[in-house]
């Protein structure tokens, strides 16, 4: 099976004044369609920088990044915005929902920028909310939902445009252990349906849900191994 994500010798150098700091020192890995990958590492290890590049929010200083066969490195900001919209779904630690906006409209948001009309948007959003077990909560505002429910709305938003990959950055970081488990069960279920997931976490028990663990340290990958759990 061809790789959905393929990184080859990715380097990222930050310049602050006359100081240069190499956050990524030649990262190479591939993620096949249908995989569930956990990325681990201490803070400052470069895992977030790498996620930003994978998420097309940042561009590598050097190296090649192919997303679904497309060379992302050569794209301009508008094309990157399009890629984020159509190929990627984001789930953040802090949920990042729009306050004072009904859940269903939060889920619709990627479709707004994709240019779908109101009817199509609503249809797809309602289906996505059913998928994450939030049927009936469409008109609730984020403030009327629990943390776990808010994260489910965020996952529905990530799913709604049928992305190639879902990127989750510490998705359980703001949740208690019971809710974390529920969210991880949901991710596992989505993965079983064939959705590719890349998740950054520093909790070993959360990482254990993934089929493969990549560990970062000082801008390099120090281990890349299957967890034994099959997706």
């Amino acid at each position: 099976m061809s790789d959905v994500i393929s990184l080859t010798d990715i380097r990222r150098v930050f310049t602050m004044g006359d100081q240069q700091f190499e956050a990524l020192k030649g990262i190479s890995y591939g993620v096949a369609a249908g995989e569930f990958v956990a990325i681990m590492g201490a803070s400052g290890s470069g895992k977030s920088t790498c996620m930003n590049i994978v998420g097309c929010l940042d561009r590598p200083t050097s190296g090649q990044y192919l997303l679904d066969g497309l060379d992302v490195g050569a794209m301009d900001p508008n094309q990157l915005a399009d890629i984020r919209n159509k190929k990627l779904g984001f789930v953040f630690q802090g949920f990042n929902l729009l306050a004072r906006t009904p859940a269903v409209e939060n889920v619709e948001l990627p479709l707004v920028y994709a240019g779908l009309n109101a009817k199509e948007r609503r249809q797809k959003a309602v289906i996505a909310m059913e998928q994450v077990g939030l049927a009936g909560k469409e008109n609730n505002h984020p403030s009327q939902l629990s943390g776990g429910q808010q994260q489910r709305v965020a996952i529905a938003r990530a799913l709604v445009n049928n992305p190639a990959v879902i990127l989750a950055d510490e998705p359980t970081g703001n949740l208690d252990s019971t809710t974390s488990e529920e969210i991880m069960v949901l991710f596992t279920a989505l993965n079983k349906k064939g959705i590719t997931i890349i998740m950054v976490t520093h909790e070993h028990d959360v990482a254990a849900y993934a089929g493969r663990q990549i560990t970062f340290k000082d801008g390099k990958i120090i281990s890349d191994r299957p967890t034994g759990r099959t997706a």
Binding site: N52, G55, L57, D58, P77, N78, A81, D82, R84, N85, K86, F90, F92, N96, L97, L98, R100, T101, L109, P110, V112, Y113, A114, G115, N117, A118, R157, N161
Partner: protein
Amino acid sequence: MDFSQTLKIALRALRTNKMRSFLTMLGIIIGIAAVIAMMAVGTGASYVISQQIASIGSNIILVIPGSTTSGGLRTGSGGAQTLTSDDVKAIMNECPSVSTASGTVRSSGQIVYGNMNWSTVIMGGTPELFEIREWPVTSGRSITQQDVDSAGKVCLLGQTVADNLFGSADPIGNIVRIKKIPFTVIGILEGKGQSPQGTDQDDTVFVPLRTAQRNLVRSQRTDSVGALIVKAKSEMVLDKAEEEINSLLNQRHRITNGKEPDFSTRNLSEILAVAEKSSKAMSLLLGAVASISLIVGGIGIMNIMLVSVTERTREIGIRMAIGAKKNDILLQFMTEAVLLTMLGGLIGIALGAGGATIVSKLLGWPTMISIQSITIAFFFSAAVGIFFGFYPARKAAGLNPIDALRYE
């Protein structure tokens, strides 16, 4: 991304901070209301001025006698009695740019009917006077050349005089006494209202010129006239007619170089120009004040939009992460700013128009609200939004999505 969605997002953002949105709009509301009210009052005033000037008649030149010295005392302007009916005839015959002319004499006195009496202005004139001043009668007939030639004891009443002497009764055919001499009322003149100087033009009684010269005014010469009113053939030849009159009268009155003329001419279009100039200057001044308040309002909007961009940095980050392009963000914040100013503009237009109406009702000032001023005000308020909304919107669109997402 369709525009209706952008509009919906902008409206939601404005609704979220209702008080702030209102206060931000206030600058624009006040500015636009001031513009509308000031334009309404300005156009109303200049309309009234032009009405008043038109009420005198168009293309008119006045010839006024100069001063004279008698026993070492100089009379004021108009004191000389050197203009005569012959001068009037000469002007009519010899000045090619003149259409017609009339000599007038003016006096004041008591006019009595039955047990009613009224102090008013008495004017003597020829039939041409009413033609020049475009002043028809509403009932009865006007003064004819025959009345003048025969020095008939007939009179025309101005509206104010008729009302005060006769009330609702019909004055025509009745005998009134002007300075104790009986006159037959032959007609009532149409109401003309105030003159540009603010006097009531309808508070006048007209009698035939010769009657006035013989019976009502005391002067050395019975054919002298107080003032000449001349109508030029058109506005184009107004200045030329004035020159012709000057040179003709100089010749007739033997005014050589260095001698002070015993008459002066006055062109009514000059008065009109002055009135227009002052009302324009006033409008300009008020317009400048209103523009300043609009600029201040615009800066207020820019300020609040900048605060809003900072507050919503995270939201901008989220939108960018899930696929909003720079232009989507730019458009969103521009829409918000323009919506603020256009809404402010609409409220301002309503307030300004309402204010102008109240002012005209309470103070009796004439006001006119033109579609033109409303359109200008509306588009100007939108332009303020575009101008002052651009910088904050560009700032929002230029944010780096990673930093924006991390913003606390």
